[in-house]
């Protein structure tokens, strides 16, 4: 299995592990807003902040594995695309099709900006997931009262469910691709068109497996008394710190 569980939370030390998950949600949202409205120099600064947090939290190796694809393929694609085609769709009347590549420095700057912006949005989410215990998060969410009303268990269930399901769906996809390869068909070795069609065809078995599993998970959560909360005893040994 290819580090599928790298993406998940693991116990660690440092401020980002001990911070209250709700404060972390708030900080991530602020970071997103800053990212969306920053210029190139601020984006470079925000990227540096990301790396400082990653190194400080001891996530370097896992983080680089997670973002490797982005740096190797997505970021260069965005920059090259902007360098070559920026002027084709800039201006007041952008053409529907842009077949006239024209190298431009502006395109390069915009490409780097778009790439860094995407990186900041993506990596701040990854850091949040890697450093936040889902149990602490749902515990804090279930404590929230809006005008005296608690957030429904079904909403919290969604967090638990998504947290586990995303990883498992990728795991299922890996196994199906492996089974296809064993039967002589590798989606990774075919052209783009066939690959896209192949992935679309995989949606059916993936959906079937996911639905079956969703039902089992819903049963499992019921059996574990999720949402019953008869007695409110905090079992968290870590105190939240700023």
């Amino acid at each position: 299995m290819k580090n599928i569980f790298d993406f998940e939370y693991r116990e660690g030390s440092g401020i980002f592990y001990t911070l209250d998950p709700l404060i972390k949600v708030f900080l991530v949202m602020i970071f997103w807003i800053l990212t969306l409205y920053s210029g190139l120099s601020s984006l470079v600064l925000l990227t540096a902040v990301i790396f400082i947090i990653v190194i400080y939290s001891g996530l370097t190796e896992r983080f680089l594995r997670q973002t490797r694809f982005f740096f190797l393929f997505v970021f260069p694609f965005i920059v090259i695309f902007q360098v070559l085609f920026h002027w084709s769709f800039a201006g007041e009347n952008p053409g529907l099709f842009f077949f006239n590549p024209k190298v431009s420095i502006d395109g390069f700057v915009i490409g780097v900006k778009v790439g860094l912006r995407l990186f900041c949005l993506l990596s701040s989410s990854i850091i949040f997931i890697m450093t936040t215990s889902p149990l602490r998060l749902i515990r804090r969410i279930s404590e929230i009262r809006v005008i005296g009303f608690q957030i429904p268990a079904s909403v919290t269930f969604l967090f638990v469910f998504i947290n586990r399901s995303v990883t498992l769906i990728f795991n299922d996809l890996e196994r199906i691709l492996e089974a296809q390869k064993a039967r002589g068909f590798s989606l990774r070795d075919v052209g783009i068109r066939k690959r896209i069609l192949g992935y679309i065809a995989l949606l059916i078995p993936l959906l079937t497996i996911s639905l079956e599993r969703a039902q089992k998970q819903a049963i499992a959560l019921e059996l574990r008394g999720f949402g019953s909360k008869k007695v409110d005893i905090k079992t968290d040994s870590q105190s939240f710190k700023m």
Partner: protein, 464 residues
């Protein structure tokens, strides 16, 4: 009395026949009960009735009454029933939600307001203390099961139900699980074991046999498991003779493995050397995580050779394209769910032929017939039971007539009848000269077929 079931009948929505009919059952505190029966007979449905999932989660036709510690499952909510009864599901990975063992147990404790002091006690009892910070998905199958049992025990339930707990376990893990169950039973817990494994079930004190939704046997007589007539009920007798040991004959090497090593973060295979002859039946044994599946995945290029060499029919494996190797070697995975991805049974088989560029698909009809799938050729493969899906997966690989067939734990989801069919089919394949490699924790099934055994431990072949 902990469980009292009166006149219970239940049908799932759209089902042609009831899943359970007229069940009357009383189970006393401290009993160790085995529930046996073929696939689809209603064993798991009965377990779900005992937990309150039926009728609260599945609200279809439910008649009769189920009392758990005096609580009527219809009149009480699931979370009122659950502190009395815990269940380890067959697909126990669905019961895991959190990225650490500690959080997994803590979650259950918080839901029921259990004091955190109990964490230490439970983790010690289940021997999980050193694993508390680990991700459950990185643990062995036995450790995953223990994690779930530990979270169940947080509420100290009187009843523990285990649905096919041994299907993924190696012999050592089975023994470990048995010790835990005996210990819990000695503490007064009622244990209900749903299983196809009669050898494991022999440790129980009471035996229920279900067939077509009815209890057809209810006895404390352990000799039931040895009687020939229980095979008519779809259950494997404990002393069933799967055949005598085969006598190996010398033959030309078809697969040669030299100094094969593989590592992913840590060494998995360490300088493996092996020769497999043309037409041989090789059984690969070893504990979970010992490297069995990693070894066979190299044979059809699902894993790239990092160090060492594999020669098939005189040529290095590197000289074969993926298509050529897949034509030569058919691979049947453990879980059939991941091998089925088309919209009809026929389409599933045709996928292999198309992928391998086999134009003449005469074998398709023969294989459909052989696996009793002809009348279902237009049906969605996803609509079948797990045992039937395993049959479709097998058919979809064998349709291309590979010379070498690899099967990874093929018996996991099969009941007695299906197991017998598989052995018959493997016998036919062997007689036709195919080379067969099987990974299994249950060598007895293949006794009559096995030419040689490879035992893998810590990434090395220790016997073979």
């Amino acid at each position: 009395m902990v469980i009292d079931i009166e006149n219970l009948s239940f049908s799932f929505l759209g089902a042609k026949k009831p899943a359970l009919r007229d069940i009357n059952l009383r189970i006393e505190r401290g009993e160790f009960v085995a529930i046996l029966g073929p696939n689809g007979c209603g064993k798991t449905t009965l377990a779900l009735c005992m937990t309150g999932i039926i009728p609260h989660f599945f609200r279809e036709r439910f008649e009769g009454r189920v009392l758990i510690n005096g609580k009527d499952t219809r009149e009480n909510e699931i979370h009122d029933i659950v502190p009395n009864v815990g269940i380890l599901m067959q697909d126990y990975e669905s019961q895991i939600f959190f990225p650490t063992v500690e959080d997994e147990i803590r979650f259950q404790m918080e839901n029921f307001g259990i004091s955190p002091k109990k964490m230490e006690e439970i983790s010690k009892e289940m021997k999980l203390s050193p694993l508390l910070k680990r991700n459950p998905f990185e643990l062995s199958e036995g450790e995953k099961q223990r994690t779930i049992i530990a979270s169940i025990l947080a509420t100290d339930p009187d009843i523990l139900i285990l649905d096919e707990p041994t299907s993924q376990l190696d012999s050592e893990e089975r023994e470990h699980l048995l010790r835990i169950l005996r210990h819990l039973n000695a503490r007064g817990k009622t244990i209900i074991l749903i299983t196809h494994n009669t050898y494991f079930a022999r440790h129980c004190s009471r035996f229920l046999v279900i067939r077509d939704g009815r209890i057809v046997e209810d006895t404390r007589d352990r000799s039931l498991l040895e009687k020939a007539h229980i095979s008519n009920l779809g259950i494997e007798p404990i002393n069933y003779n799967w055949g005598n040991h085969a006598i190996s004959t010398g033959c030309e090497s078809q697969i040669v493995i030299r100094d094969l090593s593989y590592e992913i973060e840590k060494p998995v295979l360490k300088k493996i050397n092996a020769d497999i002859g043309d037409g041989e039946f090789i059984l690969i044994l070893g504990k979970n995580g010992s490297g069995k599946t990693t070894l066979v995945k190299h044979l059809n290029k699902l894993l790239r050779v990092q160090r060492g060499e594999i020669i098939i029919n005189g040529n290095s494996i590197e000289e074969y394209s993926q298509r050529e190797i897949s034509k030569l070697i058919g691979f049947i995975f453990q879980n059939p769910e991941h091998q089925i991805f088309r919209n009809s049974v026929e389409d599933e088989l045709r996928f292999t032929l198309d992928a391998l560029g086999i134009v003449n698909g005469n074998n398709l009809n023969n294989v459909l017939e052989l696996f009793n799938l002809k009348e279902y050729r237009d049906r969605s493969p996803h609509a079948f039971s797990t045992g039937e899906k395993q049959r479709i997966a097998l058919a979809s690989v064998l349709v291309s007539k590979p010379d070498i067939i690899i099967l990874d734990e093929p018996m996991t989801y099969l009941d007695f009848e299906a197991k017998k069919h598989l052995i018959e089919y493997l016998t036919t394949l062997k007689e036709s000269g195919k080379t067969i490699i099987v990974i299994s924790h249950y060598p007895d099934y293949y006794a009559s077929l096995t030419d040689r055994r490879f035992v893998i431990a810590n990434g090395k072949i220790t016997e073979g």
